[in-house]
Symmetry: C2
Subunit: 459 residues, 2 copies
Amino acid sequence: MDFRGDPEILDILRTAGADVRGENVRFERGMCRRIIQATAPREFTYHARNPSRSVHFGGASAIFAPCAGAPFVFDLDGGRRYATLADTQKLHKIAHSLETLHTAGGHIAEAMDVPIPERHLHDVHDQLVLSDKPIGGAVNAPERAIDTLNMAKIVFGDAFVENNACIYAGLNTNSPLVFDVTMMGALKVYARHNQPVLVSPYILSGAMGPVTVAGCLAQQLAEALGGLVLTQLIRPGSPCVIGTFIGTVSMQSGSPTFGTPESLLGITVAAELGRRLGVPVNCAGGAVTSSKIPDAQAAYESALTLTTTFLAGVNMIPHSAGWLEGGLSAGYEKMILDSDLCGTLQIYSQNLDLSEEGQALDAVREVGPGAHYMGAQHTQRHFETAFWRSATADSHTYEQWSEEGSLDAARRANAIWRRILADYEPPPIDQGIAEGLREYRDRRIREIQAAGGRAQQGR
Amino acid sequence: MDFRGDPEILDILRTAGADVRGENVRFERGMCRRIIQATAPREFTYHARNPSRSVHFGGASAIFAPCAGAPFVFDLDGGRRYATLADTQKLHKIAHSLETLHTAGGHIAEAMDVPIPERHLHDVHDQLVLSDKPIGGAVNAPERAIDTLNMAKIVFGDAFVENNACIYAGLNTNSPLVFDVTMMGALKVYARHNQPVLVSPYILSGAMGPVTVAGCLAQQLAEALGGLVLTQLIRPGSPCVIGTFIGTVSMQSGSPTFGTPESLLGITVAAELGRRLGVPVNCAGGAVTSSKIPDAQAAYESALTLTTTFLAGVNMIPHSAGWLEGGLSAGYEKMILDSDLCGTLQIYSQNLDLSEEGQALDAVREVGPGAHYMGAQHTQRHFETAFWRSATADSHTYEQWSEEGSLDAARRANAIWRRILADYEPPPIDQGIAEGLREYRDRRIREIQAAGGRAQQGR
């Protein structure tokens, strides 16, 4: 594997016993696994500023996170358009309000009206202020990782951040088999400060990896091990997470395809490989689709992939809600629809109630053959809470549904996200902390703009 | 459990040792299980008139069957309307043409323009002529079961039918805890002639069963055991299948709801209970939905339920394609969209290719870090067959999709079923057999009409 542009990383790997030739590094069989297994934690707590929103990472738990990184947004009224800061703030508010999503979601979409060097300052600020769920950190430059850390420290305090997982840093390799200087720079910042680092290849099978599932899995494991070993060499015991993204491409057009059986197989086996390694597993097998709109294609691909990923025992599922168009677009309606699916899976995974009340033997005795349960005392006792209620599904009769305007699911979801935004109230925050975050954001933007001005004058 | 209106059945049960009081029958603990396990086959072959279409029933295999029993049909052009014989014939042609569906599908929809006493004659005829996949039998009267047997014998020969599973008979109990005279009549015909009998409760939790999952499962198991034991008492060794349908109801409106976590939990545990019994398992956890149209709701509910059912290891999955509106409507577009999902799951369940070619080690050596796999020899070798291709998904760019009319998935599916019907060619059949089937159908219709006329004159 190539580790490009970072002599410090090459020194670290050489010292650990790897065979370093230029920027190409070879590990003897089992070396990375041994180093990772020696010190990496199997499970940890991923902290939110609201302690009741903190989540367990690893073991039997699954964390559902919203989509990330889309340059476009889509809604039924405005269609597809470039995302703006106003959009990302709306999406943060919606993600915060949906109980079935567990994180503030990193950069849900790209605020294309904000210059790239300033974008992360808005995003981290908005995650910490508009939401009180656990946050994702900037990874696209070491100094942006430092900004994320500094802002987290304003909220959590310096010592707490150094000793606890407060920022999730999702790093991608450059498949095949390259770890680039940007990603290594971010990795060093987060690992040195004890923050959980995900190393996830992003492989489109047949393009950035072999055209076979087993070939992609071998590559995925090699790339992830090569990145994760750095976290333990830099700070033994710091939390790390093994990741996978295995998609497929259309052999006709070269476009990415989602919800394909090959990608599902990749996710399923990658989850097993991650458990074998013994660190938490992240699979970007969320509500992914190549559909441009929240139609049946979007729903089939999303439901199939999210269900399979969840049942594979994955611990962190990014892109669980909102993804459209192969990740190029974040959908307002799609986020609402997907969040219902997340809720269904979360309830599905709860244990069957086998208590006497759960077995309903008194009701069976009371009702008897050929009667009905609607009026049974047991039914009445559980009436309100028996079944998970979808916010978007319509189970009315055809006639009632027609009278109500024959709305499809996307149109119903449109009304829901509008109501969520209308009802949104920011989660409570200490005013001094809010002020500190705002000041940090604005000061750094001024510094970046001044430096940009100087750079421009220098040309 | 009540066995209503059939003294012969009560005699059979009494002789076997059950405690019969009037029409209510109690079985001592373990009695039904012991009788069933003593003689019922764990697996068998379900024969089609085209031997290459015969399927394995039980073990690790899953049979995907189209939807059944809808009085309405839906398509994008004609909307929702009563099904006609012309519709059922079109749907049989489509189901035959879709390679991911394994059966001719019984009565996919109800031909509402044909009187009920004649409907099964058209349906069985059309299954046997328009398709060459395994068929489902009429169960709504003993004489209609006999008609099905007689028509199967025209195709397979008398001795073959008596010795092999050629007709799948899907029977429902009248939940809670009633087996009615119609169903027992059909059961006796099929079991005596060695045809596979499914006994499946149809429980909407909170209405025809307790409001808790465990309560419904206890009821489901009791009803299924009470029915299945009859097959082995009537003809030991005849094939039988344990079935489940556990849905939920909206506690607001009383309408059935689908894709709920409670129904998924019911399916998952019912599949385990079936395996414990040791006969093949049927779960009506197909592509079920309460949506009226092939929108995102339909797709989420269908994909979630079908995926969960498949992964639960169910052997027969009825309603795998076409179901809309809680089963009241059979959708043309929905059948196309669902069949793609069936195909994805079927490929997903194939084993990972771990051969040297599957591991792609030569490609990994050839490509190396930072390059791409599009042009690799290994990619070229597998180019055409590497990935399952969905017929309905669009993975093109937003721009190309827009230029092509911004069609949603349902609209693309509309074009596909129209092309399937335009291209349809009936599977080859011996002309004498075809003639025999037609004659039988027409003669029986004349007899039924004459008897109906006499009955009318008699009033």
